[in-house]
Symmetry: C2
Subunit: 199 residues, 2 copies
DNA sequence: GAAGTTTGCCTAACACTGTTAAATAATTTA
DNA sequence: TAAATTATTTAACAGTGTTAGGCAAACTTC
C-alpha cells in the first residue's frame, strides 16, 4: 500500500501550502488581514478544510513562528562560522539577528509579538539548538576566565537581547528600515556590552 | 443659552466614559476582546452612538495612547524633580518609565504597539512637553562639556530607550512582571550608558 | 401654543471574522 | 457491484466594525 505514503505526502504538501499562503498574505496585506477564507482561496479549498491541518488560526501563526526560529538560528549560526574570535563572532551574530528582523519583518513580529496578539512565546525553543544557545555559548567563551555562573551569562545575554530587540521594535513600529544611524547605535551598544563582559 | 455649555459638558462626559470603558475592558479582558458593542454596554448606549464621539475604533485607541503619553510625561517629570544631579535624574527618569510600563501595561502596549496592530506612533508628542524632551534635556546637561550635536543626543536617547523598551517588551510578551533580575539588568544598562556619555 | 427643524438615539442591515455540524461527493475496501 | 470510509463543501452560528434609515424627543420659529 504505497498510497498511504503518497497520501501522507499530499497532506504534508497541503500543510506547507497553508503556511506559505499565510505568510504571503501577511507579507502582502499585513497580519491583521489574514483570514481563513483568504488562505482557503489561495490553496483552492474552502475554509473549513484548513481545520483538517491546523487546530485553529493561532496554530498556524504558532507554526510560522516556529519556522522563524529555525531560520533565525540558521542565520545566526552561519554568521558565527564566518568569524574566528568570540568577540567578532558575537558582533556578527547580533548583526545577523538584526538583519533577520528586517529581512523577515513579519516573521519576527510573529515570533516576538510586536503588533500581534499572537501565540505565546515558544519557550521550548529557547534551550537547545536555538540562536539563544549559540549566542550564550560565545558569551561563555568570552568570559571563561571569570568562570561565570549560568545566571550571569543569562543576564548578559538578556542585556544584549534587550537593546537589540528594543531597537528592532522601535524601528518596526516606527516603520523605519534599519538605517545607518540605528546600525551605529546597535554596533556601539554591542561593543559596550562586549567590553563590559570582562571587567 | 447656558444649555449649550451643559450639552457640551455632557458630550465631553460621554467621550470620557467611552475612553474609560475601553481602558477598563482592555485591562480586564485584553485588547483583542475590546469591541464597540461591549463599550456600548458599559456606557449604556448602543454601538452606533460611539461613532458620534469617535470616527472609529482606532480613534479610540489613538486617544487612549495619547492620554498614556501625558501620564508618562507626568511620571517622568515627577521623578526628575526628586533628584538633584543630572546623573541621578536620568536614572530616576528611566526607572519611572520602567515603572509606568508595568503599572500601565495596557496603555504602554497601546502606545508602542506591542501586541497591538494599533495606531501609528504619535510623532506629534515626541518633541515638546513629552518625556522625550525631558530626558534629552538631561542628557544634554550631562554632556554639556562636549557640546554635543542634537543628532548625538538623539542617538544617546535612542540607546537608552532601546534597551529599556527592549526589556519591557520582552517582559510584557513573556508575561514577566519586572522582577529583580530585570531591574538589575536595567540599572546596569543605564549606568553603562550614562558612563559612556562622557568619554 | 402649533408647526417645522434639528438633534439624539436606536433598529436593521451589510460585509466581514473564526469555527462547527451536517450533508454531499469521491475514493477505497470487501 | 455494494458498503464503508474519507475528502470536501455548504450552511450556519455567534461575533466583529461600520453605515443607513427611521422614530421620537427637544429646540426654534412663527
Amino acid at each position: 500500500m504505497g498510497s498511504k505514503e503518497r497520501i501522507q505526502r499530499l497532506k504534508d504538501e497541503n500543510r506547507m501550502k497553508i503556511l506559505q499562503a499565510s505568510l504571503q498574505i501577511i507579507r502582502d496585506e499585513g497580519l491583521s488581514s489574514l483570514s481563513m477564507r483568504k488562505i482557503a482561496d489561495i490553496i483552492e479549498y474552502t475554509a473549513p478544510m484548513i481545520y483538517e491541518y491546523f487546530a485553529n488560526k493561532e496554530a498556524i501563526l504558532s507554526e510560522l513562528a516556529a519556522i522563524g526560529y529555525l531560520k533565525l538560528a540558521k542565520k545566526v549560526k552561519e554568521a558565527k562560522e564566518q568569524e574566528k574570535t568570540p568577540e567578532k563572532q558575537i558582533e556578527a551574530m547580533w548583526l545577523a539577528y538584526w538583519q533577520f528582523s528586517f529581512d523577515q519583518k513579519e516573521l519576527y513580529q510573529l515570533m516576538y509579538g510586536i503588533g500581534a496578539p499572537c501565540c505565546e512565546m515558544q519557550k521550548t525553543f529557547q534551550c537547545t539548538d536555538s540562536h539563544t544557545k549559540l549566542i550564550t555559548d560565545v558569551i561563555k567563551e568570552i568570559m571563561k576566565d571569570k568562570k561565570p555562573s549560568d545566571e550571569l551569562i543569562c543576564r548578559k545575554y538578556f542585556t544584549y537581547w534587550s537593546i537589540i530587540h528594543g531597537l528592532i521594535s522601535i524601528n518596526l513600529v516606527n516603520k523605519g528600515n534599519g538605517d545607518e544611524t540605528n546600525q551605529q547605535v546597535l554596533k556601539d551598544a554591542i561593543h559596550g556590552i562586549t567590553r563590559s563582559l570582562n571587567n
